[in-house]
């Protein structure tokens, strides 16, 4: 398992391997190939950041460019999933969900229940999320909490290349609608990724680091910040469990609760806005189900309740920092 590839390559590879394995897997989105309508220039882009590059020629007819009609093609992906395909629809930036949310939350998510169990909708919706590219308020949001809220959806937020590959393969094989969210800043992150195909089950948190003092639960890019903070804190004698739930829905409650039973202290790190967020979700869970173990306030380290600013001088303050995580952990550790 010595091979290192990037998060972006891991995502490409997952799609490639699943397309090879299963004829019913198709990929669609704006410029997932690129060059449509210009003879001889097909696959000009392979996705806005090149993630689907090469699939167009390898899987003829199964990588499909779309007009800029997100309701149209995301809904089409949902419909195709009802009729035997396993579409992977790319929404480019999760911020665009606002023009197609109905097809996701009222249609795909609810079919199975509304239809009395008679539908399966194995659709995957991939999108980039997160701040860090100075892409400003309409291209930098997290929004996974919104999807997590909706029954019928599964929500995946990989924090590293290994998870990205295994979770995307699971997403494609899963028979429920899955929202697969890729942090744009992580695209260049390198990590060890097996060449062979593997699926990581949903609802199984990854414990990246163990320590008895404080539990840190973090999501996506924040997992890496949490690890860095935990490393620094270790030197100061504070030992942390660092938990990456990997999927926000389903959520591995047990791993989180067991950790807090041990440490009695919890910091949740979430890049999104604070209100009704994953940070509050985890905090609420623990305050209900592991209250007896708690020795300190639960700290939520999140972005503030403001849109994502453009200028890097503000964006860097907007995103939760390693320093803020360390400070929060230190506070809960010192609380008595």
């Amino acid at each position: 398992m010595a091979r290192k590839i990037s998060y972006q390559q891991a995502i490409s590879e997952a799609m490639d391997q699943e397309m090879a394995r299963d004829q019913t897997v198709i990929v669609m989105g704006e410029d997932v190939a690129g060059g449509a309508g210009t003879p001889g220039e097909e696959d000009a882009w392979g996705g806005v950041l090149g993630v689907t590059k090469g699939l167009f020629h390898k899987y003829p007819g199964r990588v499909i460019d779309t007009p800029i009609s997100e309701s149209g093609y995301v809904g089409a992906a949902v419909g195709a999933a009802c009729n035997g395909l396993r579409p992977v629809a790319e929404l480019m930036f999760i911020d665009f969900m606002g023009v197609c949310f109905d097809q996701i939350f009222n249609q795909a998510a609810k079919f199975r229940y509304m239809f009395g169990g008679k539908a399966e909708t194995p659709v995957v919706i991939r999108a980039m999320y997160g701040a860090g590219f100075a892409a400003a308020a309409q291209h930098s949001q997290c929004l996974y909490n919104i999807f997590t809220h909706i029954p019928g959806l599964k929500v995946v937020v990989p924090s590293n290349p290994y998870d990205a590959k295994g979770l995307l393969i699971q997403s494609i094989r899963d028979n429920d609608p899955v929202i697969f969210l890729e942090h744009k800043v992580l695209y260049t992150m390198e990590g060890e990724v097996p060449e062979e195909s593997y699926a990581i089950p949903f609802g199984e948190a990854n414990v990246l680091r163990e320590g008895d003092d404080v539990t840190i639960v973090a999501f996506g890019r924040m997992v890496n910040f949490a690890m860095e903070a935990a490393g620094n804190l270790q030197k100061k004698g504070i030992h942390c469990d660092v938990i990456d739930p990997r999927t926000t829905s389903p959520l591995d409650e047990d791993t989180i609760l067991e950790s807090v039973e041990k440490t009695g202290r919890l910091v949740v790190v979430d890049e999104s806005h604070p209100r009704c967020s994953m940070a509050s979700d985890i905090a609420g869970l623990v305050a209900q189900k592991a209250f007896g173990a708690l020795k300190a306030p639960i700290e939520q380290v999140t972005a503030p309740h403001v849109p994502v600013p453009f200028s890097d001088s503000l964006e860097v303050l907007y995103v939760p920092s390693v320093a803020r995580i360390e400070a929060a952990v230190t506070r809960v550790k010192e609380y008595s």
Partner: protein, 324 residues
């Protein structure tokens, strides 16, 4: 055109239309007693549309429907007994009582669901059609939608997409003159919905929706073209609903007598009967017999729906995901 329809098909068409009518008239009556929960939108008056279209469809073809979906369901082959139970909120319903009138679906017969979201079906049907195309099964998809829905972005996007992808889809606009209390003369910015076809590079057709044969013929043409790779069609069926937008609507926005006049002069069942009995193809007795059978079927469905059990408490937490 009735040449191409043999006697068996004609009887089938009549039975379908009559079943829809009987079903809806019965729901109308029972709703008034307060026993039927939720919102109910009746299709009575528009039977020729669903029937004339769905007569051309096979089990692998899909339709997407609307909040006013009972007729589409019945025409596509959903069991009316299960439907009635569903509308009454019973465990024996098509959707176990979890969906209700606005969400009746039966994917096993290619019925992708009524839809509580106006315009929701457009994108979905592009998807089933795309899947059919990729699988090479020669199936088509029909998206039923209303005049009101014709102004929803999802429908426009779907029409464009269907042409871009050359999908076997029929966009079947049922223009019944109103969206709730709003006239289509107000909400649709061109004379006919079908006039929008050229904006999406597809043929547009206008059909008298009270005339089963007209619908049947036009739909046949469009569906055949779609099946043979000729791409989508926008077909506008001009029709009217006999009841209010939903049950309970006082319809103050309609001229007094408007519906009564339609019932007398334009009723699709009466017109059908006149035509097929006039040339002796079918006898009045044969049709009367169907009327009686259908009445018995619907009566029975109501009796059953009334006595069937409601969903058990445990059902609350099932069917959310494949795993629970």
């Amino acid at each position: 055109m009735s040449e191409t329809l043999n006697r068996e098909s004609l009887l089938k068409a009549y039975r379908t239309m009559r079943t829809i009518r009987e079903f809806e008239e019965r729901v109308h009556i029972d709703f008034a007693t307060g026993e039927i929960p939720g919102f109910v939108h009746l299709y009575a008056g528009e039977e020729a549309s669903a029937t004339g279209v769905c007569m051309h469809l096979t089990g692998t073809d899909y339709i997407a429907s609307t909040h006013r979906g009972h007729g589409h369901c019945i025409a596509k082959g959903v069991d009316p007994v299960g439907m009635m139970a569903e509308i009454w909120g019973k465990a024996t319903g098509t959707c176990k009582g979890k969906g209700g009138s606005m969400h009746i679906a039966d994917l096993s017969v290619g019925m992708l669901g009524a839809n509580g979201i106006v315009g929701g079906g457009g994108p979905l049907i592009c998807g089933t059609a795309l899947a059919g195309k990729i699988k090479g099964d020669k199936s088509v998809g029909v998206c039923f939608f209303g005049d009101g829905a014709s102004n929803q972005g999802t429908i426009f996007e779907a029409m464009n997409l269907a042409t871009v992808w050359n999908l076997p889809v029929i966009f079947l606009a049922e223009n019944n003159g109103y969206a709730e209390a709003t006239s289509s003369k107000y909400s649709v910015s061109c004379d006919n919905i079908a006039d929008r076809a050229s904006a999406f590079g597809m043929p547009g057709v206008i059909v008298d929706g009270f005339d089963f044969f007209a619908v049947y013929e036009a739909a046949g043409e469009a569906i055949e073209r779609a099946r043979n790779g000729g791409g989508p069609t926008l077909m506008e069926v001009k029709v009217s609903r006999y009841y209010g937008h939903f049950e309970g609507d006082q319809q103050t926005y309609r001229a007094p007598g408007e519906v009564q006049k339609l019932r007398e002069t334009k009723d699709c069942l009466l017109q059908f009967r006149r035509r097929v009995t006039a040339n002796g193809e079918i006898t009045n007795e044969q049709l009367d017999a169907i009327d009686a059978e259908v009445k018995a079927l619907i009566d029975g469905s109501v009796v059953k729906a009334k006595s069937d059990p409601k969903p058990a408490a445990a059902e609350l937490m099932t069917d959310v995901y494949v795993s629970y």
